[in-house]
Subunit: 349 residues, 2 copies
């Protein structure tokens, strides 16, 4: 498996999307967020998505030169209409707006509607944490999971993310789908040709399956924690799809083949500035203390280490920033192909 | 099992706490929230708690005449210090403050620290939904669960609740512990002398157990969805315990015997006014649509009905408002005892 440096991977991806008409800043942002996912080991949301995004632009499903409209802009809230933009670009803008507003008001939220894939959702709360703020993000998407106990695709895997700034420790970063796993992990398994654990998905009959293709094309993911995961997904749907004025639930098209069918999502970004509650440094030190309490737990039998949310990803990021990002042969070839097709020099080092 | 009407149960409970020195409005509020839990079938947070609250007052663990202090009161945020008050009383006040602020700013949050048990957490978001607002609530509590993979008690079951106002449908109400079940369910099983499912808890060695006493006094609850439930609990801890300036993590005393040991919690209440995003009626109708989409799902084999979050509880509430609340013999006798001890007429009808 070839390992590539993040700089050259970013440059390649940005070059591809710039060549397809995206403004330079937008192309850079897409590359930044995708490569950050690869660095953190969230490969399902990294450069494996490039070929899909390229296909969506070609098919008119993703608008690389959108007119993003600010529908409302009040001191503590805003609403954005995305015009089928790169979800990543609008998500970053929305979180930045939420952070600015929270800096003044203490808390703020921004909704986004009618954008495509927003990439690794944890990226946006991490922006807030880097700025000393608390960030939350959630979004809906193509109907793929049935309600708990049902068998009609109704909601997406509706991910949820949150980040908290620490002082000497890494920030706490939760980034999770409300399904047992993210749909991207099924697609990655299918791409790699490996079976999936029996707990991840159901087949067309509602029976657990190890076949990622069966699960992707005919079956369903399972909810994390059963009805609890479904309940959280419902909350995510209401805050992102319903409150944004965007599409929600069964009104969102199903999307089985990433890049070849419409992918419309809505999202919700929230920021809180702890400075309005206590000195920022005090809050950061309190988060340090929480992290250290968790790390100080005795380990259960057979467990090598207790991890705080996001910790494994920060470790992997340090390792991959040093040693390079391992790309699967499939992704490597996809990148080579889109580079050739868009006239971008294929140089990964 | 005797069935009692909610009015007489409320009057009895309010009478007991008024007799113990609580201001009349506060006693009424505690009775209102406990009986609402009984009505909704959340018995673990209903009148089964009365004897424990009484004991806490007697032991000086719960202050029935607190000086609740408003530490900060800004347009979009507030912080309350609870002086070991009834958590229920301060929680209701905090959510009311968040609702008022959100009505003006669109979004607001209020933290609470140093209160006792806050009762059924879903009550407070439901207040928001009754007012046409979105409500969220979360709180921490006594360390009882280890981090995922650990065996040192570090966090509480850290519940999370959210509610969304509908138009013709019942509101969506999610009310969940981040553990597989709430600790109250273990205590209720112990009180009833019935075994618990093997998935609920671990014994002192970290092995699944069906013995609620072993789990309560020596073992641990399990997290919903494994590391995902632990991740959400961490977010709840950071927003409630850390942001409130209250105790968090291992600094919160363990509490094994409800009513006889300190129970200190911190909480976070958030409200969003959809009117700042779209006409309120439009938002309500969109929630209706989401509810109906979920209800319209085909059922999986062997499943009798697909439920929206909170729906089962609304059904049970209608049934119990009509037929009365079934009280276990243990709870009935506890109520009789505290009524006698506080000189309140024991009249349940």
């Amino acid at each position: 498996m070839p390992r590539v440096g993040p700089e050259s991977l970013r440059a390649l991806i940005a070059g591809v999307f710039a060549a397809m008409g995206a403004p330079g800043d937008d192309a850079d942002t897409v590359a930044e967020v995708l490569v950050e996912a690869d660095l953190r080991g969230v490969e399902s949301h990294g450069s494996t998505r490039v070929a899909g995004y390229v296909s969506m632009i070609r098919l008119g499903l993703l608008n690389p030169t959108p007119k993003v409209e600010i529908l409302r802009d009040l001191p503590s809230i805003a609403m954005l209409e995305g015009d089928r933009a790169f979800g990543i670009v609008v998500a970053k803008r929305a979180m930045r707006m939420a952070m600015d507003k929270a800096g003044r008001a203490g808390i703020a939220c921004v909704t986004v509607r009618n954008v495509t894939h927003t990439g690794m959702i944890g990226f946006y709360p991490m922006m807030a944490a880097r700025g000393g703020l608390i960030g939350l993000a959630m979004n809906n998407g193509p109907k793929i999971l049935p309600p708990f106990g049902g068998r009609t695709p109704t909601l997406a895997t509706n991910p949820f993310a949150a980040a908290f700034p620490a002082d000497r420790e890494d920030p706490i970063v939760l980034d999770m789908a409300t399904s047992v796993v993210a749909g991207g992990k099924l697609r990655l398994a299918a791409k790699k040709g490996v079976p999936i654990p029996l707990e991840w998905a159901l087949d067309r009959h509602g029976v657990p399956t190890t076949d990622p293709e069966e699960a992707i094309f005919h079956g369903f993911l399972q909810w994390a924690g059963g009805y609890k995961g479904f309940g959280i997904a419902t909350v995510v749907e209401a805050l992102s799809g319903v409150l944004s004025g965007g599409l929600f639930g069964t009104d969102v098209s199903a999307m089985k083949a990433f890049g070849r069918e419409p992918l419309v999502t809505s999202a919700f970004y929230l920021a809180i500035d702890p400075e309005h509650f206590m000195p920022r440094q005090e809050f950061r030190q309190r988060i340090d203390r929480l992290v250290r309490q968790i790390k100080a737990s005795e380990r259960a039998a057979g467990v090598e280490a207790v991890f705080v949310a996001g910790e494994i990803e920060f470790r992997r990021r340090a390792e991959r920033a040093r040693d390079g990002i391992p790309l699967s042969d499939v992704v490597y070839e996809e990148l080579r192909t889109v580079a050739r097709e868009t006239g971008v020099e294929f140089h990964l080092a």
